[in-house]
């Protein structure tokens, strides 16, 4: 029973972080129908920003969040202005291959600058601490804080998009770019803004994740896949959809825990022999495949 409860709690907490990971991908797709294959690389830069800034400045990694947001915002706008705006003029295939190229570029710059070895956060107020949540459920403090702060950041972006004039202009551009231009809304500015917000939210997620996940230049791909799965499940372009889909995907990452629970409950010998944890993330790819076949529009439909 404890295994089951622990797995559910861990899955939901990780899901909250994943919601922030996927947010930028769904916003960028919603505004300009572009799939950003480099999304996970943005997250990787967020991880390095928090790790290195906390080491260099000698502060807790959590205090580097504003810096990570700034780095992501500027990186997003730089990628849009310096690159995406040119490939937009090309055919659809150029856009797909273009962000794929951006992924390789960002990854190789990281390899060059940071090297290929794993690095991890070893010091911080939250590191090696944990919370007892009752029912024998113990949660690492880093994961709990990451989940809480992710929800705060997610809600902040959601409010920005729904309550501010700028956010409403962004929504209008997502719904009908030509109609928005006739309202005096510059599509160029809104696209750049989407990349800025998308970049900032995913680097903040990276800066939270690095507290419990080692970083190397290859870490992005897994998170790109996770974000794709979430956005496909929640509906491309849907922000609320991304949140609920992320919780589902968070639970999917805990399938090995559920398997253990079943194994102990049913006490079937063969179940002990299945090395579930060694393909922990396979289930995300399986889920992605199933969604694309069964319900390509996602749970909440495309855009809203």
């Amino acid at each position: 029973m404890e295994i089951l409860a622990s797995s559910i709690v861990a899955g939901l907490l990780f899901g909250m972080v994943l919601a922030l990971v996927a947010l930028g991908l769904t916003i960028i797709f919603g505004v300009m129908d572009i799939i950003n294959f480099a999304h996970g690389e943005f997250l990787m830069y967020g991880m390095y920003t928090a790790l290195l800034a906390s080491q260099v400045l000698g502060v807790d990694p959590l205090l580097t969040l504003p810096l990570a947001a700034l780095v992501g915002f500027l990186l997003g706008i730089a990628c849009y202005k310096g690159f995406i705006t040119y490939i937009l003029r090309g055919p659809m295939i150029a856009q797909l291959l273009g962000t794929f190229g951006l992924m390789l570029l960002l990854r190789n710059i990281a390899l060059l600058v940071f090297g290929s070895e794993d690095r991890a956060v070893h010091h911080g107020v939250l590191v090696d601490k944990s919370f007892e949540m009752g029912m024998g459920i113990i949660v690492p403090a880093t994961k709990l804080a990451a989940a809480g702060l992710s929800v705060v950041a997610f809600v902040a972006v959601w409010l920005l998009m729904n309550r501010t004039r700028m956010g409403k202009a962004l929504t209008a551009t997502a719904l009908n770019p030509q109609g928005a231009r006739y309202m005096g809304i510059s599509t160029e500015k809104m696209n750049a803004l989407a990349w800025g917000i998308g970049g900032a939210s995913v680097t903040v997620a990276g800066a939270l994740i690095v507290n419990f996940w080692p970083v190397n230049p290859y870490v992005g791909l897994l998170f790109t896949m996770i974000a794709f799965t979430i956005v496909a499940l929640g509906g491309f372009g849907s922000v609320p959809g991304a949140f609920f889909a992320a919780l589902v995907v968070g639970l999917i990452t805990e399938i090995p825990g559920f398997w253990d629970f079943l194994t102990y409950t049913l006490e079937l010998d063969w179940m002990y022999d299945v090395p579930m944890t060694s393909f922990k993330y396979m289930w995300i790819y399986v889920a992605y495949f199933i969604i694309m076949v069964v319900r390509p529009r996602g749970l909440f439909g495309w855009k809203h």
């Binding site: 409403k168 202009a169 231009r181 006739y182 005096g184 510059s186």
Partner: protein, 238 residues
């Protein structure tokens, strides 16, 4: 040289090399209501899109308050005070009527002015106030046209360009929409109206132009145009 708040000089537009507007010149003076009449495919919408910077001009000039704007972006042109209510309406369908209207005031800075404009639109179209919290997509065709026009009024335009506002409406609603245009005219609004309801449009406009396959083939006051051969030929396609 022709004056007017809006002046178009020898404007040419091509779609992938194909000439669609073949040298259009027209002007609209402040406070005037001018209509552009023409059969399907004559190039009326193309003309308005070119004025908005949504379709590049191949040659010619568009002058607004004496300034050349044919190279400006659509967003900048809206900021200057030219507002276009497109034939396709282009409402933001999943969001509410009021949110649509407020987006029309995107270029406005003063909150008090925006509120006043919203009140003005609701007075003009009381039905929109009743439906302000409804998604725009759930409205009837006539109500959607009211949102489109109302949204265009939200930024205090110096000139309002309406592209076939009566398109696809039942006869009662056609009259209602054109009555609204008449009211706006009475308020002193400068209007460029594209219509296919020749009689009604000429009745309410100060002047009109006849557009036929990308050329102006006639212009004049309402009664003069009404009696002209061009109107008959342009609309009977002779």
């Amino acid at each position: 040289m022709s004056s007017g708040i809006l002046a178009i000089e020898d404007l040419k537009v091509r779609y992938s090399g194909l000439p669609v507007l073949q040298g259009i010149s027209l002007h609209v003076d402040a406070g005037e209501t001018v209509c552009v009449l023409g059969a399907n495919g004559a190039g009326k919408s193309t003309l308005l899109r070119a004025i908005m910077g949504a379709q590049p001009a191949f040659a010619g000039r568009v002058l607004f308050d004496g300034r050349e704007i044919q190279k400006h972006s659509t967003a900048d042109i809206v900021r200057l005070g030219i507002v276009y209510v497109p034939e396709e309406k282009m409402l933001f369908s999943p969001i509410t009527v009021e949110e649509n209207l407020l987006l029309g005031a995107y270029v406005m800075d003063e909150e008090a002015q925006i509120r006043a404009n919203l009140a003005f639109v609701y007075r003009l179209f009381p039905r929109l106030e009743e439906r302000r919290r409804q998604a725009a997509s759930t409205l009837s065709g006539g109500e959607q046209q009211m949102v489109a026009i109302g949204r265009g009024l939200m930024s205090n335009p110096k000139i309002l360009m309406l592209d076939e506002p009566s398109l696809g409406l039942a006869p009662v609603l056609v009259d209602e929409v054109l009555d609204t245009v008449r009211k706006l005219k009475a308020e002193g609004m400068t209007i460029l109206l594209v219509e296919q309801n020749v009689r009604e449009a000429l009745d309410l406009a100060d002047r009109g132009y006849i557009l036929q396959t990308g050329r102006i083939v006639g212009e004049g006051t309402g009664p003069a145009l009404m009696a002209s051969d061009q109107v008959k030929s342009a609309f009977l396609g002779l």
